[in-house]
């Protein structure tokens, strides 16, 4: 049977309900929350601040460090707390997704720390994390040439679907499920993150990227709206 209906009744190109907030953590220099349906990510930015040990310092520009963490209560089965192979990988790809927009040339020998915590997870956690981190970086007053918007696109059987949930990721009939997290720089449309977990033809991948680009426009509008609202209430 072909894949014709999504488990939560959304259209194939429809995102889950989104929500974003800025300035949620008082002690951080910048902070934000981003939610895709049941997936909630919070990001806190600290710095630029002195970097120790000294051999990690870069005298040309500031260093970006990202720490992604899924909290133990974020999933139905308790997750063992602490770093794992998965969280290390996601920290690294998030860092690479954010680095192209950031300008830390004016802060040599310093570090900008981003801590992303997933407080509730239902797939697309790295995408929610990147969206929250981009907002938090802007809120911390760091020079950026653009924001970053991220969305996960999937190929379920032979259909291209935007913003996957856990149930869809585990779909096994037909061609099965392929998860493609993407991150865009909204102004130029450049890709800063592209991962692919599963199998896909080149044509389908191109189709997926186009679908992701379209969805990211919606995310960008929300990020813009959220930042413009700061200090107006």
């Amino acid at each position: 049977m072909a894949y014709t209906k999504r488990p939560d009744g959304r259209k194939f190109d429809e995102l889950r309900e989104m929500e974003a907030k800025v300035g949620i953590i008082k002690n951080a220099d910048g902070s934000a929350m981003f939610r895709f349906g049941d997936t909630i990510a919070i990001a806190a930015v600290y710095g630029p601040k002195p970097l120790h040990p000294q051999h990690l310092q870069n005298p040309e520009k500031g260093v970006l460090r990202v720490n992604y963490d899924m909290l133990s209560f974020s999933v139905t089965e308790r997750k063992k707390p602490g770093p794992s192979r998965r969280s290390q990988e996601i920290s690294k790809v998030t860092e690479w997704a954010l680095a192209p927009v950031l300008n830390l040339d004016n802060y040599p020998n310093t570090v900008v720390d981003i801590h992303i915590s997933i407080i509730q997870a239902n797939a697309s956690t790295r995408c929610a994390g990147i969206n929250a981190a981009a907002l938090a970086l802007a809120h911390a007053g760091i020079e950026m040439k653009d924001l970053v918007c991220s969305v996960s696109v999937g190929k379920i059987d032979d259909k291209i679907v935007v913003d996957l949930i856990k149930e869809e990721e585990d779909y096994e009939d037909g061609e099965g499920a392929t998860d493609i997290p993407l991150a865009f720089l909204p102004k130029s449309g450049e890709l800063s993150l592209l991962q692919l977990d599963g199998r896909s033809s080149i044509e389908k991948l191109k189709e997926a990227i186009e679908a992701g680009k379209k969805a990211c426009k919606e995310i960008y509008e929300l990020q813009k709206k959220t930042l413009k609202k700061v200090g107006k209430e």
Binding site: K49, P50, T110, A138, G141, D146, Q223, G231
Partner: protein, 252 residues
Amino acid sequence: MIAKEKAEEKEIVEKKGANREIVIPGETIVSGSDFLPGEGTRREGEEIVSLKFGLADKSDRLIKIIPLSGIYMPRRGNTVIGRVVDVLFNGWLIDIYAPYSSFLSLKECSKFVSRNDLAEAQDIGDMVITKVFSVKRKGVDLTTKSRGLGKLENGRIIYINSNKVPRIIGKEGSMINLIKEESKCNIIVGQNGVIWIKGNTLEEEIFAEKAIRFVAEKSFIEGLTEKTKEWFEEEKKKSKAEKKEVKKEEKK
């Protein structure tokens, strides 16, 4: 006549509001070659694009961004309040709550200090008011060779976000003078967001702190000085009522 003046005033305020609007990184502020890119902006072809999140100031030909949040970056000539974190053989290491460590040299000290006992002048944990003398690639140099600079005795220290300092001071010091007058305290505001308050009594100091926190929280509102005046009136009424109650209880 008065009504007309008021209307004009309102117009100016509104214009000011129109000149300042929140921008996000990557947003085009204005386009055209009449404008020059200032701090936090850059030119991309015809357009001037924001690089930071903050208020865009379009009142001049030079477009710049006034940041709303973030850390303090030291600049030459800033008066800052810092904490002594280490005493070295020829000076002091001072934490001015910036990303770089800052150094106050013995040579830059205004009064005579014995080379053998630097801790006598200011020891670890002391708060000092200093001026930023130079900002180099790696570190900041400070000086106390000016009137009013040096170690701070007594009083209390409060910390606010450094981006709110201009609002605390107000136009030509209007806000800080108002707070000083109302609370009868001596207040020094460092550009790094560290504030020193010294009053005759503890109550006065706490009152001044409350006022500063109020201003920092409401820093987005237009006509803040007026609002703060109103706030002071209300606080006075409250404290009077409290005093009356205390007296009544004493009588009982």
